[in-house]
């Protein structure tokens, strides 16, 4: 073998490949971004036209232009609420991530620990959060209750995905570790953790979205009790006052927050996996 070059060197050297792929894909990528944006603008224009032609009053359906204007006009109130909701979501997600990963690692240590505690996690997950929220609001101060709700919904998907990931290390690689008499710690560090990474990131993406939903749901529950100041509370409050444009403006901000969370985790997944995992692979590369 010594004198021979790589015999079947069909694969391109790794450094050159991504750059070339990017350049080749660029026009395609551009369309991918431009097309949905254009569709979105067209939809807004149609909406605007319908409202103007039919002279629909703003307390029934506000035009997009009015929603935009409200967004600017009420920015002081809305941005303060946005910060509250965003903060709740992020803190809940961080806590859920830390807690669920720690628990998943604990589960991976022993089948018995997993069997004793997993049912609790399932009960926590399958109980609809809306039904716990009023209880939490009795026991806890309202902002804390909202945080706990968001935490609870985000916790389970990350836990179950990470657990699955830690348990699905390649059997051949486990044998290889056995062959070299790897310690439990080494096996965990070098094999189980990296194997679990794609699963964990998948859980994080689901958990991120759910944390926002949990925060919103809890805010609505809290808001109806006359407390809270997040975006969902603004929606409820504006509803009471028949301030429909502001309801839409707050809704738009919630949507944007959701999109932001999604994009962040998609990007994170891509950055961490694109060199090796099939899920982040562009076809034909």
């Amino acid at each position: 073998m010594s004198a021979l070059g790589p015999a079947e060197s069909l694969a391109a050297p790794s450094e050159a490949a991504p750059g070339r792929a990017w350049r080749r894909l660029k026009p395609h990528r551009l369309i991918e971004i431009v097309l949905p944006l254009a569709m979105f603008c067209v939809a807004l224009a149609i909406w605007e036209a319908i409202v103007r032609i039919n002279q629909i009053p703003p307390y029934i359906l506000p035009a997009p232009s009015l929603i935009g204007a409200t967004l600017v006009k009420d920015w002081g109130v809305l941005s303060a609420s946005l910060v509250v909701t965003l903060k709740t979501t992020v803190v809940a997600l961080v806590l859920a991530t830390l807690g669920s990963v720690a628990l998943a690692v604990l589960f991976a240590q022993s089948k018995w620990i997993e069997r004793s505690f997993f049912p609790f996690a399932v009960v926590m997950q399958v109980t609809p959060i809306v039904s716990i929220a009023p209880l939490l609001l009795i026991y806890l101060e309202s902002s804390t209750a909202v945080l706990v709700c968001a935490f609870l919904v985000a916790f389970f998907p990350i836990l179950s995905n990470t657990s699955l990931g830690l348990a699905s290390a390649d059997h051949g690689l486990i044998e290889l570790m056995d062959l070299y008499r790897a310690s439990r710690r080494q096996q965990f560090l070098y094999l189980r953790l990296p194997s679990a990474l794609p699963y964990f990131l998948g859980g994080l993406r689901i958990g991120g979205g759910l944390a926002l939903i949990g925060a919103i749901v809890a805010e609505i529950a809290a808001g109806s009790a006359g407390k809270g100041s997040g975006l969902a509370f603004r929606i409820v409050e504006a509803g009471f006052r028949l301030n429909i444009p502001r309801m839409f403006a707050a809704l738009a901000l919630i949507s944007l927050t959701g999109i932001l969370i999604y994009v962040t985790f998609t990007l994170l997944t891509y950055l961490m996996l694109h060199r090796w995992h099939d899920s982040a692979r562009t076809r034909g590369s």
Binding site: M1, A7, E8, S9, E175, L179, Y190, D278
Partner: protein
Amino acid sequence: MVAMRAVSKTFPNGTQALCRLDLDVYEGEFLSLIGPSGCGKSTALRLLAGLTEPSSGEIAWHGDPPEVGFVFQEPTLMPWASVFDNVFLPLRLRKVARRAATPRVEEALARVGLAKFMTAYPRELSGGMKMRVSIARALVLRPKLLLMDEPFAALDEITRFRLNDDLVGLAAELGTTVVFVTHSVYESVYLSTRIVVMASRPGRIVEAIPVPGPAKRTEEFRTTPLYNETCRRASQALHAAMAAEDHL
């Protein structure tokens, strides 16, 4: 180097994979195990590697058990690690520092012709190249005994022949003892100094065939009368082993 004496292996589900197997592996030889599926040739290899324990019988090493390298049927590379890190793994598990390990990893990769691919990831490589990485990883600890479990079975014939040639060269160069499991009679004759034919249900040895060819095999060996004669003999033994099974 090692003697397996009356080794039996029964799996928990009751399948008897090996029945009173006696097998010697001699220092410096290239031993091939061939036989039909389920004859326990892989099990014998796993016993030698210490990946599984015999149900009865003993495995006696001449001296201390040597450093063993194992090449699986699949390349079994870590997809998240570069070629370098994959080959570094056995050393890393022995707590060798990265810097100290670098020359050894580089040497192992150079031996399999992949010196230029250290930073590549497994999925960027072809099947044959992945197998080369797997071989480099098995060699990086400089094992006295290299165990290979149908390593080239999933590769196309051209790649397979090339890897066969390279493997013969490597084994001769390093003086490593090799135990090689395969389905292919031609592969086994080309590579080996001795072939052991096994039959299944229960797994046992039916014949041992020495291959007195030159120490360093080349493509020419494939056309010699000796090669043909040995292939015929091995085929006959294999067919006899399989025919015996049909009667059961």
